[in-house]
Amino acid sequence: MHELSICQSMLGIVEKTMAEHPNATLRRIFLDIGKGSTVESTLLSEAFEVIVSGGQYEGVELVINDIPIAGRCRTCERDFTYEEFALGCPSCGSTDIEIHSGLELDIKHLEIDED
């Protein structure tokens, strides 16, 4: 359960960014979280609610974009996506595959209200 510390790291970046907009109110935080990233979106949302409760970011919405695991088979040259790691290409079964995305743990942007 490292979602709490991931959440704290994320809020560290948010705080630094918001310091550059001292008169703004934070409304939404947008994240990309890969399905193969070891971070579980539901747990991350729960951790977020616990951490921001009673603080300056209470009521801020965390918007998580779950990124499926996507790759390409080097044998049949088809692109594929997985909801979770699987053994080989879903089309031809080859195990000679490369993964392009699904490991993301990124903070994309914020939405703010400027006073």
Partner: protein, 226 residues
């Protein structure tokens, strides 16, 4: 609503500290391992057996990560290691900053190898770069042969996987070949070794692996003063 772009890795701060750590290790000519596994798969026993075979040839430092106690540090000290215990107090992984905070006073300049034994956990530690050269994962035969696909991210990230406790194979249903295949699908570059730290089988290959990598690391090190 106004939008503020960030486009950063959430762990970018950890990654920056890991880069600093890696530079500090490289300046001291060290080869650094980050050992990850579930609790009880034999990380400390492997370190003890490794120290028994290498402690008179190379200087080894161990950084032990556990939720609590100094037990693991006491064990490796008894086999000739210097180092330090980090207690995370509930934390499920080590971070680059935790490593940075203990580097002063460890005597990096006099050492050859550093083993960082991460907190026993097959999930969270795989997300945190500590500045190591080699991220390795242990899987003991007693845990079952279904683990690579159940905990894929660490096998996807690791450069070396070691199947431990192979002396127990006669008593277990553990398909070594299947594990090797699943690891290679997740990560075709991951090397796989098999050993019993307790009985000694396979230890020679592991020691050779370490020494080969240490030589490569030393060869890549710029000479003093350059």
């Amino acid at each position: 609503m106004p939008k503020v772009d960030i486009e950063k890795k959430i762990l970018s701060e950890n990654d920056l500290v890991a880069i600093e750590n890696r530079r500090q290790f490289a300046d001291a000519g060290l080869l650094v391992f980050n050992i990850i596994s579930s609790p009880g798969s034999g990380k400390t026993t492997l370190l003890e057996a490794t120290l028994d075979r290498l402690a008179d040839k190379v200087k080894i430092l161990v950084i032990e990560g556990d939720v609590s106690t100094e037990r693991d540090m006491d064990r490796v000290r008894a086999h000739g290691a210097d180092g330090i215990q980090i207690n995370t107090g509930g934390g499920c992984h080590l971070s680059a900053k935790m490593i940075r905070d203990v580097l002063d006073g460890l005597g990096l300049d006099t050492a050859d190898l550093v083993f960082i034994e991460n907190v026993g956990n097959l999930i969270c530690p795989s997300t945190y770069d500590l500045g190591e050269d080699i991220r390795m994962v242990l899987l003991s035969t007693a845990e079952g042969d279904d683990k690579p696909m159940k905990y894929p991210s660490i096998f996807h990230e690791a450069e070396l996987a070691i199947i431990t406790k192979i002396d127990l194979l006669p008593y277990l249903e553990f398909d070594v070949e299947k594990v090797g295949t699943e690891i290679s699908v997740l990560n075709s570059e991951c090397e796989v070794l098999k050993l019993s730290a307790l009985k000694g089988e396979g230890m020679d290959a592991w020691i050779e692996w370490i020494m080969k990598r240490l030589e490569m690391k030393r060869a890549a090190r710029p000479a003093a003063g350059e």
